[in-house]
Symmetry: C2
Subunit: 115 residues, 2 copies
């Protein structure tokens, strides 16, 4: 099985063949994390309803929650206007972040110096 050629034809991949996926909690709107997909990861995500990424550090497909239990049930998938970013709206079970935080953006807030 392969990604629908009509979708594959719209994707713009980086030199590693990957596209960033922004992952958002479908009801609260929290941005949970950013991960990376190749064509196969997007295909698996669309056909299984389970968020599936390419792990750049481990060099393998990664079904979110398979080891942690912190599954992402996919509710909505969209490409952006340039085909170079994916937005996933999911129902996140438990913590999205491997640190145990709900989102990967909870711990390191930067100060804005208003001029």
């Amino acid at each position: 099985m392969n990604l629908d050629p009509k979708i594959a034809g719209r994707l713009k991949r980086n030199p590693e063949g990957l596209v960033p996926a922004v992952v958002q909690q479908h009801d609260t709107g929290e941005v949970l994390m950013l991960a990376w997909m190749d064509d196969e990861a997007l295909h698996r995500t669309l056909t299984t309803g389970r968020a599936t990424y390419w792990s750049r550090s481990r060099g393998e497909y990664w079904v979110k929650g398979d080891t942690s239990g912190h599954v992402q049930h996919v509710r909505h998938v969209a490409l952006d206007c340039d085909g170079d970013t994916i937005l996933l709206k999911v129902d996140q079970v438990g913590a999205a972040c491997h640190t145990g935080d709900r989102t990967c953006f909870d711990a390191d807030v930067l100060e804005i110096a208003h001029p």
Copy 2:
């Protein structure tokens, strides 16, 4: 002026020296777009309160809204747990997308085939 070395030390950049920035409307939670920042763009964003990116297509800094009027007033900035993604919460004036859509993810929704 340069980016605070304590922040620069936590950033993990891609081979082009860039980090993806997820841009979200601060009150509604809409994910508006994804853009790219280098250290200088992040520095300018934090010190001016105006979202500033590196345009990969034009090879120049890009203060969002300078030509379109569709300014992004920055309300919140955070790094993710790995330091390789930035989350910006902004107050977006008008359309975030160059197509005129409110967000860059409005036009190309993909079908999920629930198994």
